[in-house]
């Protein structure tokens, strides 16, 4: 009995510490801070109401207004959390929704100065290039984004999808 109890206790301790280790071993999200200096910016920050207003994040809507918003934002929501240049990324998405690809590129250029190793921003630049008809460059930006993707499978899938579309466009132009 005592031996059994002892084993159960030991097992419980092992399971407890294993869970701690496992949580620490979860796939690391990769953050790419400011180019010049290391940062300790907030991760997965939940904006307060004032911050929502300041960032222009509106309350949840329903119906046609959601669809319109989704149409306006042609860039995928970054699942990797929001870095300091996120507002620029979001604004670039809106610019693309309005067909202002040059403006989207300028915003992403600025975003990449702040977070130069954020694979999503390189991917977004690829989208802007694609939308502007620069398919060769769209391919290159996707390849660059893949180079920074690490274990981010969603980013890799997005890059793959855009690559296929870009190659398709080039092939169809060659015919």
């Amino acid at each position: 009995m005592q031996t059994t109890l002892k084993k159960i206790t030991q097992l419980t301790v092992i399971v407890f510490f294993s869970s701690l280790i496992l949580s620490g071993c979860a796939p690391r999200r990769v953050y790419y801070p400011y180019p010049q200096t290391p940062t300790r910016y907030e991760r997965n920050r939940v904006p307060t109401q004032e911050q929502r207003k300041e960032e222009g994040i509106e309350r949840r809507k329903t119906g046609p207004s959601i669809r319109r918003e989704q149409e306006e934002q042609l860039l995928p929501t970054q699942p990797t959390g929001r870095g300091p240049a996120y507002t620029l990324y979001r604004d670039a998405g809106r610019a693309m929704g309005k067909g202002k690809y040059d403006r989207a590129e300028m915003l992403l250029n600025r975003a990449l100065r702040i977070e130069p190793r954020n694979g999503w921003y390189w991917h977004a630049m690829g989208r802007a290039k694609f939308a502007g008809g620069a398919y060769e460059q769209a391919i290159q930006f996707c390849l660059k984004s893949n180079n920074l993707a690490g274990n981010d499978q969603e980013l890799k899938r997005s890059n793959q999808a855009l690559l296929q579309r870009a190659y398709g466009k080039i092939r169809s132009h060659k015919r």
Binding site: P35, Q36, E54, P84, M106, N109, N147, A149
Partner: protein, 773 residues
């Protein structure tokens, strides 16, 4: 007798009449002709003066030098940035330090909190209006940003308008901030007219009454209080920039003033005057116009000038040197009072404003770190890049705005460490006349952050970063090794570091040697690179072929044509430091060629985007091969020729780099990158004599000193798909998938790292042990 007298008398009369008839000079026709001729000559002369003054007026009106700006400073919570860095940046950008900030272009500091009111600025993306916000620091990090208005909402990202770092001006070294008529404050215009030319709006260019009035006022005051020349005459004098005060010049000026008034309106003349008037000297830069003067003397936009500051500037018109507030404050204050008296007498200011202005002390702006061509080496690069697309007159006359990538924080560190570092090295190695060049770029997007063309930062002479073509020595080796890795070699492929003799067409065979004059036998590829073995490199280069090696260097971005000589393998090529930086940039980006940029965009004088230098990338090497090479470059620093770098950037930074030394130690190089920055340093003597320094004892020291001060990020290389790991002689090394033979332990790059696997293994072992006791 009578007959003779009569004849004589007749002869006299006849003679007199004849004389009258024979003197044509006094004939009316001749006089008229003479007058016409004189008139024609005068008219031609006046036409000539007319053409001159119009050409000069129009030429000056449209002559706007291109202005160059640094990068805008981006601020956000979590950014590592010290209060000292921020203050220095604000001062470079010409911000006023105040107790209370009420107007744009000002800041105040209370300990670790800044109150900043930015200025409107036209970026390539459009006008960004000024913002007023508070920056709060916590140690060396920005803790938060808050708006000053309303509920002090937190701000996630804000940028400060960029500092003006120089301009491209015509050869006469003038500089100005050009204003339109509406830019001129009403008080400034009225004061100017009251003091210098009361009858400006009514005279025809010259004013005899004005001259007399000025004389009367001067006599009454006992000193010169009013000028006799009109503003128009002064403008003419400024346009010709001559000090000759001859009568002829004065007459010419008067005539040209009248002619100017005939062609241009009062407002146009007044505006040109406000932009042209000479108001001081800053080194070899002439300060022209109230726009630039208000920035230079008071760090203010002209519309933010206070009445006492307006009085100082208007007072300086009479004598910019004599009334210079920096050099002759007493004269300046005396003159200021005179002008303020006139302002009060003419009702331009009330009594209380007058009292306050008179009692305002002269605030010294201190040693103004003028942004004018403060970074000549970088500006030189910008100018050369622009000259590929623009003519000289476009750069000096059309008022272009050049937004660049220069980071003043990085540039300051580069300048300081290069100068101090060389001084130290000269002492240690008992050498003198050592010069250097540094290039620092953003690791991923290839923005050129800093450029040093020599030890003396302010010297605009020989730009070694762009023009010093020196043998690159072992810096070429990564190109050869990369070529090998893309042609089937692995990091552990054995190379023969043994004597080699290469026949050459002319003369004796080429027999290179290692630095230590020894042979090391069979060595793994990565160690041959880490220790920079020459013999192994030559064997490798010859095995893969010279053309392949040269092509790899060119694909990396090394410009120029290279002859297929074996000496290429040991760095006979002579690129500039900037060229070397471009080559290593492709390695730092993971095999993507990203052209290095010094310019972000070019805007016209009316803020329209003329050209944007966008980001472009091109994958030139398989990412796996570049990953392997970069790992090898980390070994250079970990255990190879650059191991002494750890005293500046310890092991956790995982720097990748390469030392380079040319024959007889004439050139000392280091190229390397951290997680966020790439830098290349060259040291040498201009007379090409030996420096007594290798890459590790010379350039690498400077590199380490610079990077240490730039808050570097560690270099975490991301293994691409197609990389597997294996242990070889106790060293864990990456390989192409498929290149691995059976190993003791091998891991897929998709699974967890070996340390965690080991932990699980141990954990499961202990669980097993628990149940088997």
């Amino acid at each position: 007798m009578k007959k003779r007298k009569t004849t004589r008398k007749k002869r006299k009369t006849r003679k007199k009449n004849n004389q009258k008839r024979r003197i044509p000079f006094f004939n009316l026709g001749m006089v008229a002709l003479a007058l016409i001729l004189a008139g024609l000559i005068l008219a031609s002369y006046i036409t000539y003066l007319d053409t001159e003054i119009r050409n000069r007026f129009n030429g000056k009106r449209w002559s706007l030098p291109a202005v160059v700006y640094a990068r805008p400073l981006e601020l956000f919570p979590g950014l590592t940035f010290t209060p000292g860095m921020l203050e220095r940046e604000l001062q470079l950008a010409g911000y006023r330090k105040e107790n209370r900030v009420t107007a744009s272009g000002g800041y105040s500091r209370h300990g670790a909190t800044f109150d900043i009111f930015t200025r409107d600025f036209h970026y390539s993306s459009g006008l960004e209006k000024s913002k007023h916000f508070i920056v709060s620091f916590s140690g060396d990090t920005i803790r938060e940003l808050n708006a000053t208005a309303g509920s002090h909402a937190p701000i996630s990202l804000v940028r400060i308008d960029p500092a003006r770092i120089g301009s491209f001006h015509p050869q006469d070294n003038e500089d100005r901030i050009v204003l339109t008529r509406t830019d001129l404050p009403s008080l400034l215009v009225k004061t100017l007219i009251s003091v210098e030319d009361r009858r400006f709006y009514s005279h025809i260019g010259i004013s005899p009454i004005g001259i007399l009035r000025a004389l009367y006022a001067d006599v009454k005051a006992g000193s010169t209080v009013q000028g006799g020349s009109t503003l128009t005459q002064q403008l003419v004098k400024n346009l010709f920039l001559t000090r000759a005060r001859t009568l002829r010049r004065k007459i010419n000026e008067a005539v040209m003033a009248i002619l100017l008034e005939r062609h241009y309106s009062k407002n146009e003349i007044l505006t040109a005057y406000a932009n042209e008037i000479f108001l001081g000297q800053d080194g070899n830069r002439a300060i022209h116009g109230f726009g630039l003067a208000s920035q230079f003397y008071f760090r203010r936009n002209i519309k933010d000038l206070t009445p006492d500051q307006i009085a100082i500037l208007v007072g300086m018109v009479k004598g910019p040197s004599y009334y210079d507030p920096r050099r002759h404050p007493k004269n300046c204050l005396r003159r200021r009072k005179v002008v303020l008296d006139v302002m009060l007498a003419d009702g331009l200011i009330n009594k209380s404003t007058y009292t306050q202005a008179v009692s305002t002390p002269l605030i010294q702006s201190g040693a103004v770190q003028s942004g004018f061509n403060r970074f000549p080496a970088f500006l030189d690069l910008v100018r050369r890049r622009l000259q590929q697309h623009y003519k000289e007159e476009d750069l000096t006359s059309n008022g272009l705005k050049i937004l660049t990538t220069l980071d003043p924080q990085v540039q300051w560190q580069v300048e300081k460490q290069l100068d101090d570092g060389i001084a130290t090295l000269e002492r240690i190695h008992h050498r003198s006349h050592i010069e250097g060049a540094v290039v620092v770029t953003n690791r991923e997007n290839a923005d050129i952050l800093a450029l040093a063309g020599g030890r003396e930062a302010l010297n605009s002479g020989f730009n070694r970063a762009l023009d010093a073509k020196r043998s690159m020595g072992s810096l070429i080796k990564p190109a050869i090794y990369l070529a090998a890795l893309t042609h089937g070699y692995t990091l552990t492929s054995p190379l023969e570091d043994t004597a080699v003799s290469v026949p050459v067409k002319s003369g004796h065979p080429w027999r290179p040697q290692n630095f230590d004059r020894r042979e090391h036998g069979s060595v793994p590829l990565y160690l041959a690179l880490a220790h920079s073995y020459n013999l192994a490199t030559v064997h490798l280069g010859l095995a893969i072929g010279l053309k392949t090696a040269i092509q790899a260097a060119r694909d990396l971005g090394l410009p120029g044509t290279f002859k297929a000589y074996p000496s290429f393998l040991l760095g006979a090529a002579s690129p500039s430091p900037l060229d070397v930086a471009q080559m290593y940039q492709t390695l730092a980006t993971g095999g993507f060629y990203v052209p290095e940029r010094a310019i972000d965009s070019v805007l016209s004088a009316d803020n329209k985007v003329i050209k944007r230098y966008g980001l472009s990338v091109q994958q030139r090497f398989p990412p796996e091969a570049v990953y392997l090479l970069n790992c090898a470059l980390q070994h250079v620093v970990r255990e190879g020729t650059a191991r002494a770098l750890s005293s500046y950037l310890p092991a956790p930074y995982q720097v990748a780099g390469k030392t380079g030394t040319s024959d007889d130690l004439r050139d000392s190089w280091f190229a390397g990158f951290t997680g966020d920055k790439l830098a290349v340093v060259w040291l040498g003597r201009d007379d090409n004599k030996p420096t007594r320094m290798t890459g590790a004892t010379g350039a690498m020291v400077i590199w380490g000193r610079i990077m240490r001060e730039l808050h570097p990020q560690s270099l975490d290389l991301i293994p691409p798909p197609g990389i597997e790991w294996a242990y070889q002689d106790g060293e864990r090394l990456p390989y192409f998938t498929g290149d691995l033979s059976t190993k003791q332990s091998s891991e897929s790059q998709h699974s967890d790292s070996p340390e965690i696997q080991k932990s699980f293994h141990d954990l499961f072992q202990s669980v097993r042990n628990l149940f088997h006791r």
